[in-house]
């Protein structure tokens, strides 16, 4: 349990970096498949240190993501708090899963978020969407092992005093 204690600075830094990655203009077709980094990072922290990252944190960060990406207020806040709720409830089981099984779980989390966003978008103004709207779900799933490894290293690296 002692190892679990890490500074808020590190969590906030990783989330800020995820937000940057979210809006970086990727070249060419990569733009369309840019996964939801913020949610992936949030999921990691909620599984790794559920006592530090709660639903209201997720909600606040979702609100900031709404502002960052110019969405209607509350879209990402709603999606993130729902996904983090599932993660918090299942965190003990998720920690035991091997990476590929975790990735499977992440896939459904991302898919759920995307469906929710799609639904909210359709309520506002029905417009046809390109099929690539769903691609970030798959890229996000493939990015999970990478994020897991990196953030685990961040978490376990020696605490700076």
């Amino acid at each position: 349990m002692m190892n679990n204690y890490i500074g808020s600075g590190r969590i906030i830094t990783t989330i800020i970096m995820a937000m940057c990655l979210r809006i970086v203009p990727w070249p060419g077709f990569l733009t369309g498949i840019n996964p939801d980094w913020v949610l992936l990072v949030l999921i990691y922290w909620s599984i790794a240190i559920p006592e530090r990252v709660g639903i209201f944190h997720a909600w606040t960060i979702g609100l900031l993501t709404d502002v960052l990406t110019g969405r209607l207020f509350g879209q990402y806040a709603l999606a993130y708090s729902l996904v983090i709720y599932i993660c918090l409830i299942m965190h003990k089981r998720l920690r035991q899963f091997p990476l590929h099984q975790q990735a499977f779980f992440i896939f459904f989390c991302l898919l759920f978020t995307q469906i929710l966003l799609f639904w909210l978008k359709n309520i506002q103004n029905p417009a046809q969407l390109h099929a690539s709207f769903w691609l970030p779900v798959f890229t996000g799933t493939f990015c999970w092992p990478f994020i897991y490894t990196v953030l685990r290293r961040v978490r376990l690296s020696r605490r700076t005093k």
Binding site: M1, M2, N4, Y5, S8, I16, M19, C20, I23, V24, P25, W26, T31, G32, N34, I49, E51, R52, G54, I55, F56, H57, A58, W59, T60, G62, L63, L64, V67, L68, T69, G70, R71, L72, F73, G74, Q75, A77, L78, S81, L82, Y85, L88, I89, L120, Q124, N125, A127, Q128, L129, H130, S132, F133
Partner: protein
């Protein structure tokens, strides 16, 4: 609510102990509160403008990220500017000087023509809008909504930008300000599927509406009958109807015309004149709301030094921060 709980966990208590004696509402209650709060926000913003100030204040937290992400692009641009060879700079300088010379000569007659136009319209007892003010805004190279044609620029309400302002570039209409935040604003391009712009055919004044297609190089004209007098190559200009866009700016060129005899409307596509995918600099326009009658000159916005007025064209255009001035300034 969110802020209150954000600050709470920093109480000087070891997290292990916190886990043992879990305090505060249960996780289900928290989720319920979060859902209710989000849905309330969604409904409030969808139905009214009341949350604009909240968004503006939150954007102050988030906007530094936009500038941070934009930083590499600026650095690359500046280094490529500073390492450019003398000859290429000289060539560009010459080219720009030639262009400016031609533009200036074209504008020589513009002033008198404008006055004449006002006088003629006064004879017809017709109001005439002129005196547009321009603000140069630079695109931030960030990507917020990959499925919508929305771009972010670096000027916001601090510079007086407000929603629904028209945005132009050197070639034509780009779009309109969709949302203005303090330090940045979002611009909806004319090619966005949710955007429509009233246009007229420059050749014969035929009025119609150009709707965005979602692709950066295409506009649709879905409201023209089969026998409409329109040809490929026709220039579409803003008609000024609707009041958002000032009239007379080029929008697009008609490129395809397929009459469908079994349907009441033709399928016409047009290519936007503005270089929507290549621009770095855009012009945000203030059109004067009060129509100008004969002889009165419009007041310029003196409070804002970055707003350039273009009313007396030849004199003030030279004071603009033209690319030429910029480059010569850097080489010295």
């Amino acid at each position: 609510m969110g802020y209150a709980t954000l600050t709470q966990p920093t109480l000087k208590r070891h997290p292990a102990i916190k886990l043992l004696f879990a305090t505060g509402p249960s996780i289900n209650t928290r989720l319920l509160v979060a859902i209710i709060a989000s849905v309330a926000l969604l409904i409030t913003e969808h139905t009214s403008q009341r949350l604009d100030s909240l968004r503006a204040s939150l954007s102050i937290l988030v906007d530094p990220l936009k500038y941070l992400v934009n930083l590499p692009t600026i650095l690359i641009e500046q280094t490529s500017d500073s390492v450019r060879s003398y000859s290429s700079l000289k060539n560009e300088n010459n080219k720009l000087r030639d262009e400016q010379f031609i533009d200036k000569t074209r504008l020589l007659k513009f002033d008198s023509l404008e006055k004449e136009n006002i006088r003629l319209r006064a004879l017809l007892e017709n109001s005439f809008k002129l005196g547009e003010q321009l603000l140069i805004a630079e695109l931030l190279s960030i990507n917020t909504a990959p499925y919508e044609n929305i771009v972010v620029v670096n000027k916001g309400t601090r510079f007086g930008v407000h929603p629904q302002q028209p945005v132009l570039d050197a070639n034509g209409v780009v779009g309109q300000v969709f949302r203005a935040l303090p330090f940045s604003s979002e611009i909806m391009l004319i090619t966005d599927p949710n955007h429509a712009i009233p246009v007229q055919v420059n050749r014969n004044g035929l009025l119609t509406i150009a709707v965005g297609s979602g692709q950066l190089n295409r506009l649709n004209l879905p409201f023209l009958p089969n026998n409409a007098d329109i040809r490929p190559g026709d220039l579409l200009i803003t008609s000024g109807l609707g009041g958002t866009f000032p009239s007379g700016y080029p929008v697009a060129v008609v490129d395809d015309f397929t009459p469908m005899t079994n349907k009441p409307f033709v399928n016409i596509t047009a290519t936007p004149k503005a270089m929507l995918d290549r621009n770095r600099e855009l012009l945000i326009v203030w059109s004067d709301t009060s129509p100008v009658s004969l002889g009165t000159s419009t007041t310029t916005n003196e409070t804002n030094p970055e707003v350039h007025t273009s009313t007396p064209p030849p004199k003030n255009r030279t004071q603009h921060e033209t690319p030429e001035n910029k480059h010569t300034g850097e080489t010295r």
